[in-house]
Subunit: 385 residues, 2 copies
């Protein structure tokens, strides 16, 4: 606890880049920020003062960490739901709470609940074993099917597109006895994301709906706002996110990943209850970033304006490539583009790993996108001119 | 040193709010940031990972601290100049270096040098003792005179306006044998500030010239850009700052505090070679903040755009008042103004102490200024509606 009057302590479980950027956003709010980190040198641990190294799967570790915090929140969704219930029972303020968070942790529970709420989703059903799949395929509109483990997947992991039962069996997921749901493969025009923040007092704000471009199942580029999105779809997407946040009792950031179908509908793909890669543009592109609004929400402080500060903001992820030295590339990128915003995560470069992102903003989408893409490609070593 | 490839280590001497905000700005650049702090819980030490507690007046402490850094820079100007020379002689990269920094440390040296460069300053001369004052008064245009200790003054400390020799003697500064300069009291219309950043390779950028409103010798409000400033004066002010930075070999931020006289001239009041209170608006109001550009400069990275992001940005300092609890007031201020930007420094509230600042930006100066003023007044307890 801080010895300054009135200063709250926020504990974040997980020390990745989301915790790193949340800490950065909280410095101005004057909060005391504690991290339960996977190791002494993970991304957030390099930049924050109060770091506890420990295993988020261990209840005792979680309880000891929470004892020093006014509120506990998350950098990821991997803390066991039953541990969170035990913490809540012991009086810890956990935001979002386990009753909400379970819908970001368990895709089966999420699909069932969203279905009950009438929220548009791809057709889906749980499948108990390979024998179920032909029935599932009939019900969901035929092969190919998308198989998803209900827990533990992220960034394309735990997700397979399979053409038939043999391919499904080859994933190994059924023989491992892991719970799986099957979904129709949606013929989408593009992916969108609607991010909202919601506080315990019920206040909520919605960021502009963005377009999210994936590469190999990993978010690669985000354009804010989504170009050419009809207003009714933007409003529907924001409405869905606000409805889901309210009905599920989410506190903090809720990111709703969406498909925009070729026939003009939107369908919910995934939920995340934490600052999200599709909201990183807001650090430089919005009046209040998603990281600051996450903190404000979990502290029940009034939420900040999500208004964009430029007509167009484009964020491109820096995915680890051939070159281990990010700093060398900075010389070129910063000299070429004095308006470029760079966010490095302090992570060792490994192929495909998210090690940072760049953001550009301005009046002309083509120019802004080219600036962000060039910088990201240069920093990863994809191009060298 | 970081074990990540290519990551430079920046050491900042002094752990106040300038170091705190520099650390915040450096997180995205991925630098390793080390602080030599006055105590374990000072402003910057609450939010940074690598904190050394030690006395900046002790050469050995400085040398040990510098041994782990690629470059050493400053949160304040109080490190003894001779220590800095010893560090440079020992191979430490000190930015700004002592040959430049001395002009921010010693007002006598500054006045002499600026005079030699032909930079417009108030008339001034060193005074050895009280007996010198009548001659000085004649030379400088008569009483009252402004007396300044050549070293150690800041925020109005070490500065007196005196009406006659008796009043000058009553300051006690002459009997203490402290070196003093006398200056004419300038009949100024307002105070301005011109901030530039300069890198070792000679690149420099200039922020828009701002108006700085003082209260009791302490910066209270900053308006960016300075309203109604004729373009030729704005260009002259930026030109002076760029000239001084170049001639003196400043690396990093140089803030030039200026008087705009009632007869339409500008005169240099003070120099600071570090991020400056009159540049705090740039965190939320410019594409690249003064803190990030200070880091880029001392690392010899290309400088970022100083372009403003809104027509008007107003920063108001939060000076400690009656209420020790800053966080209570946040509820009101953030609810009233979702676009308000708040920066608290984690400092215990004491009357008159700078404990934070607020920033507002927008299209209408009157509205923007009212928003920032209201929030600051509320947070300090000056108003409670």
């Amino acid at each position: 606890m801080s010895n300054l009057v009135g200063v709250p302590t926020v504990g974040m479980i997980g020390g990745g880049q989301l915790a790193r950027m949340t800490h950065q956003a909280g410095i101005g709010l004057g909060v005391r920020f504690e991290v339960l980190a996977e190791g002494p040198d993970v991304s957030a641990a390099q930049v924050a003062r109060y770091v506890t190294v420990g295993d988020y799967r261990d209840l005792r570790t979680l309880q000891d960490f929470a004892a020093g915090c006014d509120v506990v929140t998350f950098d990821h969704e991997h803390v066991p739901t039953e541990h969170l219930h035990r913490m809540v029972d012991a009086g810890v303020t956990v935001r979002p709470g386990p009753d909400a968070l379970v819908y970001a942790q368990d895709k089966g529970a999420m699909r069932e609940r969203l279905g009950a709420l009438g929220v548009p989703c791809p057709r889906n059903r749980p499948v108990a074993d390979v024998g179920d799949l032909d029935v599932a395929a009939k019900e969901l509109g035929g092969w190919p099917l998308v198989l998803k483990t209900t827990r533990g997947g992220y960034d394309g992991k735990g997700v397979w597109v399979v053409d038939d039962a043999a391919a499904a069996e080859a994933t190994g997921v059924f023989s491992a006895g892991i719970p799986v749901i099957a979904e129709e493969r949606v013929d989408f025009a593009r992916e969108l994301s609607a991010i909202v923040a919601r506080s315990p007092s019920g206040q909520a704000i919605a960021y502009p709906v963005v377009e999210s471009v994936q590469r190999d199942g990993v978010c690669h580029e985000v354009i804010a706002p989504a170009p050419g999105l009809p207003e009714h779809l933007a409003l529907q997407a924001q409405g869905i996110a606000l409805q889901v946040a309210g009905e599920l009792g989410v506190i903090g950031i809720l990111a709703v990943e969406l498909f925009e179908t070729r026939d003009g509908r939107i369908l919910v793909n995934e939920l995340a209850m934490r600052p999200h890669n599709t909201g990183h543009w807001s650090i430089d592109g919005a009046v209040t970033s998603q990281f600051e609004n996450h903190l404000r929400a979990v502290l029940d402080l009034p939420l900040g304006s999500p208004r964009p500060r430029a007509p167009w903001t484009v964020m491109v992820n820096i995915l680890g490539g051939e070159y281990p030295d990010m700093h060398k590339g900075l010389l070129h990128c910063l000299a070429r583009d004095p308006g470029l915003r760079v966010h490095l995560y302090g992570k060792e470069v490994r192929p495909g790993r998210k090690v940072g992102h760049v953001t550009a903003f301005g009046d002309d989408l083509d120019v802004v996108r080219e600036r962000a893409r060039h910088a990201a490609a240069y920093l990863t070593g994809e191009i060298d001119e």
